[in-house]
């Protein structure tokens, strides 16, 4: 005999109680479940008004948030090649094509220059929507171009990380992008220009183990996952549950790897302030 007995057959939730919301009009916070209109959510910069959950946003959103109005994107035409002819359950070229069509993006990072509170700056911002924001040759090269642009215009560099790590489909070449980006940051440093690293949810793997952790200033948005090995892997390794808040921004700051945590609404003014401190 079973321990539990179903007394009523079938699904008993009435249609009226179902919590499905039509997409587009409303935003439901995945953390606290509270619902606001999409317009209102946009106004709060995709941050939940109730619990402060920072929803992931795109590179373009960050450009619009940080630059004073207009900005110029560079290296827009760079695209990934497929030197290894990589194929898993899908061909790498097909995977790239599909995600290009879906997102309208060329790769997992975009670079632009413009002004932040009237000070020139170069921003490289990652898009998680493009194969998990993974770093392959294009991400490495675009960061290289961003460094070159910063040096040419004597501007600070801001890299906004949002990535699952190195891109497996470019294998050894992806791994070398960790070295390439770190090499370029040496050149930026040599030129005496500041590098502000902004870590957003999520920043993991090879990106954490290269440019994301190398800022003159390391900033994070609240509650972002920041890790080398992801929580699932760590949990499997140690064979027990992870402590509350493990690998979140606040935890990473407490352990000494971040300078500050800044809410999205304050990002622009805080970054501008830091830039002014470096400049004056």
């Amino acid at each position: 005999m079973g321990w539990f007995k179903r007394e009523k057959q079938g699904i008993t939730t009435t249609t009226g109680e179902k919590k499905e919301i039509k997409e587009g009009l409303w935003y439901k916070c995945p953390k606290c479940q509270s619902v606001v209109s999409s317009d209102e959510h946009k106004e709060t910069l995709n941050v939940c008004k109730t619990c402060g959950h920072h929803e992931r946003i795109t590179a373009e959103d960050y450009f619009n948030l940080l630059f004073d109005g207009k900005y110029t994107e560079i290296a827009k035409g760079l695209k990934s090649d497929d030197p290894l002819k990589f194929e898993d359950t899908k061909k790498y070229v097909d995977r790239v094509k599909a995600v290009e069509e879906k997102t309208g993006l060329k790769d997992a990072i975009r670079v632009a220059h413009g002004k932040i509170e009237s000070q020139t700056a170069v921003i490289a911002a990652m898009d998680f929507g493009f194969i998990g924001g993974s770093m392959g040759s294009v991400v490495g090269e675009k960061i290289a171009r961003a460094v070159d642009k910063a040096i040419a215009t004597e501007s600070p560099l801001i890299i906004i990380s949002k990535s699952g790590g190195a891109r497996m489909m470019e294998a050894g070449l992806s791994l070398m992008q960790m070295a390439k980006t770190s090499a370029k940051l040496n050149q930026l440093s040599e030129a005496g220009l500041p590098y502000i690293s902004l870590l957003t949810d999520p920043t993991t793997g090879g990106v954490t183990a290269s440019f994301a952790m190398l800022g003159d200033i390391n900033i994070a948005e609240p509650n972002a996952l920041i890790a080398f090995a992801g929580p699932r892997v760590v949990k499997e390794t140690i064979g027990r549950d992870l402590p509350e808040g493990f690998q979140r921004s606040e935890f990473v700051l407490e352990h000494g790897f971040l300078d500050l945590i800044v809410e999205r609404k304050d990002l622009k003014s805080k970054i501008a302030q830091l830039m002014a401190q470096f400049a004056n």
């Binding site: 990934s80 040759s137 050894g172 070449l173 992008q177 770190s182 760590v234």
Partner: protein, 319 residues
Amino acid sequence: MPTYLDFEKPIEAIDEEVKKAQEIEENSGVDTSKTVKELEKKLKTTIKGIYSELTPWQRVQLSRHPERPYSLDYINHITDGTFIELHGDRNVKDDKAMIGGFGMIDGQTVMFVGQQKGVNTKQRQYRNFGMPNPEGYRKALRLFKLAEKFNKPIVTLIDTPGAFPGLEAEERGQGEAIARNIYEMMNIKVPIICIIIGEGASGGALGIGVGDQVVMLENSWYSVISPENCSTILWRSWDFKEKAAEQLNLTSSDMKALKIIDEIVKEPLGGAHRNREEVFANVKACIQKNITKYQKVEASKLVSKRIDKFCDMGVYKGR
């Protein structure tokens, strides 16, 4: 008892025949030298046959062969017993998975740093299976700076299944430690020669892998992820590791063709474990040749060339 990998079974069979023939001679005095000679000839062609067409996955298996020499074996042999191990990161502790110190090669002091694996169960645990914690990388960096201060060339020996993905490792900033090493190694003003002697897994390998000459032993592997983990993530199953090994282009010849590494060091017929003396000699010659080459380059040029080399890596199209 020597260990044979699954594809080495024909070699094992002949090895056993040889042993039997020798036993017969010992016990009964019958002259078996002719048989032994023939068997040895057969052994050579068998090994040659197997080793001339190794698949990438078989090379991965070889790189993990339990009798394969590890970092300290190379260092102790190459420095003729002059190696003095230096411990600790001057911060939290001494990481046993990462070893380092000065040793002499024919009168020249060299800083050696490398991941260290263990030879038996107890040792393997003690060495954490060659998976360093952040303090391992920080010890490595301390030793690189020490070498730079006294103008001694650096040799790193890479052999790791990856940086340790533990809770304390994350707390102490595994990502930052590796990032810092990669960044700082670009700017160290003495020659750096990096040799992948076994497994070169991802950031854990690159954390001591930035050098003027990056070398792979013939049967080592180097990539962004191990074939098993790649298979688990992309195919959602452990069973595609052979396919993953092929797709990752992780062998020494693949990596050389991609211009990610600069040189391949030949292994003895049948792999490094079949003739240690020979592989030690090959590695020693490689180190000496490259130290001589890079010591002639002026420090600032050395660094800018190193940076340029890594900046050129990547394949993309468009503008």
